[in-house]
């Protein structure tokens, strides 16, 4: 697996429009968005509900295709890829962290993380060690055999982070990752992600309207009514201190 070069263009949206048919009407979720994200960024897409931030992340995350325009990921126009090829890109190059954690309830924490490894097609060799290391890195060394229902919200989100990180993706997409957490756990999760970003150079893209997320982001792209209205780069904040989950 190739690692993206820090500072190089990781993904690029060029004149992207996204329309959703709603009965006889067509709703324009994105009205020509052009954005470039470079490797190693810790970027938040901010805006009110319906502004198009989740749609942008869906397109960058290869979960959806644009109605018009181009989406490049590591130089490839992913909009032209087949469903199966998009699945491969998601499996190998993109990690996801969801607002509702989205863990598989019948699998343990270890198995949830291992699932991402298996789907990525990573070699079986050393897989167990990598999964354990990923869980250790998010502070869940003692919770590996627990199922999601036996974990707190913060712990579940940590499992989700470990699941996203374990395959060493080029990009991690976090959709409102703190929305279902209290402020203490939310801050801890964000600090954990900041640490991963700083230590490993993993690119993080968030969708959020949480001030706590925006306070930690180094770039904030604001959307409104399907258009980019502001693209702000902020100075790095001091190294965060991880809090307990």
């Amino acid at each position: 697996m190739t690692s993206p070069v820090p500072g190089a263009a990781l993904c690029q949206l060029v004149g992207v429009k996204k329309n959703y048919p709603m009965g006889d009407l067509v709703v324009q979720a994105l009205k020509g968005v052009s954005v470039e994200v470079t490797a190693g960024e810790f970027t938040a897409f901010a805006g009110p509900s319906g502004s198009g931030k989740s749609t942008v992340l869906n397109l960058i995350g290869c979960l959806d295709r644009p109605s018009e325009g181009q989406v490049f990921l590591e130089g490839r126009d992913v909009a032209t890829l087949s469903d199966s090829a998009l699945g491969d890109v998601r499996a190998r190059r993109i990690g996801f962290i969801f607002q509702s954690f989205n863990l598989i309830p019948v699998l343990t924490a270890f198995e949830n993380v291992e699932l991402a490894m298996k789907l990525s097609g990573a070699s079986e060799k050393g897989q167990k060690e990598r999964v354990e290391e990923a869980l250790r890195s998010v502070g869940l060394a003692d919770y590996m055999t627990r199922r999601p229902a036996q974990l707190s919200g913060g712990q579940q989100q940590r499992v989700a982070i470990a699941r996203a990180l374990v395959k060493q993706p080029a990009l991690i997409i976090a959709d409102e990752p703190t929305a279902n957490l209290d402020s203490k756990n939310g801050a801890a999760i964000l600090d954990l992600m900041r640490t991963m970003n700083a230590d490993n150079g993993t690119t993080f893209l968030f969708s959020t309207h949480d001030k706590m997320v925006m306070d930690r982001a180094r770039r904030i792209i604001r959307l409104s009514d399907g258009q980019v209205i502001d693209d702000e780069r902020v100075e790095p904040s001091p190294t965060p201190v991880a809090a307990g989950g």
Binding site: F98, L107, L119
Partner: protein
């Protein structure tokens, strides 16, 4: 392996629903295995009943003698073939329409003139229950089937009159002392047979060495057709008058009864088919509910890179596991029941035997365990359940991951 592991775990996600859904499959498969075992047992029962009392392994009749087993025209009796070249056991009999009279009571009967030595070799008489003793040579004695004796209120030591027509068509009637009440493995015989030693039958029917039946024991029903064909080819069935006697195996003799059992098998299959169709509806409902409940999870799997065909396979495998698992339970229950009754038998009551008095059935039905319906029903239930999961699988694999990952 990942798909199998996930599918297996998903099955136990809602155990109560899985168990309830499985119920119809369990019942259907158990019914098929048990029903098949019972009908196979009925096959064995018919074959055993006629083989041990009437046919042996091969039954020969004169060329123009009817094979329906309903009429016994004595005028067709012939001197039997000498069975040249046959080294097994054989016995000759004369079957005739008789009437047994006891005081004011009378009943139609099947008269059986038998050769005691040959009968002992061909038929397992030691297994029959005999109250009293078989008639002696040169005596006016008769043995009656215990069912017939019951109808006539006859006991050992009573006198009865046996009426019949001689080979020339003349009516004849002689008085005999009843020395035995016989209970064989064939309810039809027990309810209608009057057993006369051949010398007594010769006197009553004026046979002059003529016989109506020859029963051969050749070492088993399986080889009977082959042996029969070889003997026929060698001319063993040619009588002294040059006519060739008609030889039929026990299975051929019981073909009407076996054909009825085939109808029973088809009826069971149809019933199981209906039950399985109902089960399939339940499985389809369960799997589609599982798909609707797990939309976000399916979206997550797709987001993690699982292919659509793998998602589809996941639901198909879940359906297949559900069907196979339920089928396994049903097959186990059915097999245990079949094996139990194979060892212990199902004893038909006297009333049932009376109701089936005209049929050649034994009072004990031993079910017959057979792997074919077990494997067949297992495969059937797995296939039905898989087919029932096709629509849910299509729904799941067709989800848009972007929408599915955020589903409630």
């Amino acid at each position: 392996m990942l798909i199998l592991s996930l599918a297996l775990r998903n099955l136990f996600r809602n155990t109560r629903r899985t168990v309830i859904t499985s119920g119809a499959v369990v019942f259907g498969v158990a019914l098929q295995v048990l029903g098949w075992g019972l009908v196979d047992g009925l096959d064995d029962n018919f074959l055993r009943a006629v083989s041990t009392t009437t046919t042996g392994d091969i039954l020969l009749r004169p060329p123009d003698y009817p094979t329906d087993g309903l009429s016994y025209p004595l005028e067709e009796a012939q001197v039997p073939p000498a069975l040249k070249g046959f080294t097994g056991d054989a016995t000759s009999r004369v079957l005739f329409s008789a009437r047994v009279v006891h005081h004011a009571d009378a009943a139609h009967a099947i008269g059986i003139g038998y050769d005691p030595d040959g009968d002992y070799r061909v038929f397992p008489r030691e297994r029959w229950r005999v109250q009293g003793v078989w008639p002696d040579a040169g005596q006016a004695q008769v043995a009656l089937g215990d069912g017939l004796a019951r109808v006539l209120s006859v006991g050992v030591g009573d006198d009865v009159v046996v009426q019949g027509r001689t080979v020339d068509g003349a009516q004849n009637a002689l008085s005999y002392a009843v020395t035995a009440l016989v209970h064989t493995d064939n309810g039809q015989i027990d309810n209608s047979a009057a057993w006369l030693r051949m010398d007594a039958a010769e006197e009553l029917l004026q046979l002059s060495g003529r016989r109506t039946h020859l029963s051969l024991r050749v070492g088993g029903l399986q080889d009977a057709a082959k042996v029969r064909d070889e003997l026929a080819a060698s001319g063993a069935f040619t009588a002294p008058d040059g006519k060739v006697w008609v030889a039929r195996t026990t299975r051929e003799e019981a073909s009407d009864m076996l054909a009825i059992n085939d109808i029973r098998r088809r009826a069971i299959l149809m019933l199981v088919g209906v039950i399985m169709a109902i089960a399939a509806t339940g499985i389809a409902n369960t799997v589609i509910m599982a798909a609707y409940e797990r939309v976000r999870e399916i979206g997550t799997l797709l987001a993690l890179g699982m292919k659509r065909r793998e998602v589809s396979a996941l639901f198909l495998v879940e359906g297949a596991f559900l069907g196979f698992g339920a089928g396994l339970v049903g097959a186990t229950i059915g097999s245990l029941a079949v094996l139990h009754w194979q060892a212990n038998g199902i004893v038909l009551s006297d009333d049932m035997m009376k109701a089936n008095g005209s049929l050649p059935v034994s009072a004990v039905i031993y079910t017959h365990f057979n792997w074919a319906p077990v494997f067949g029903s297992l495969a059937f239930s797995a296939i039905i359940a898989t087919l029932a999961s096709v629509q849910p699988a299509r729904f799941a694999s067709g989800l848009n991951p972007a929408d599915a990952v955020r589903a409630d």
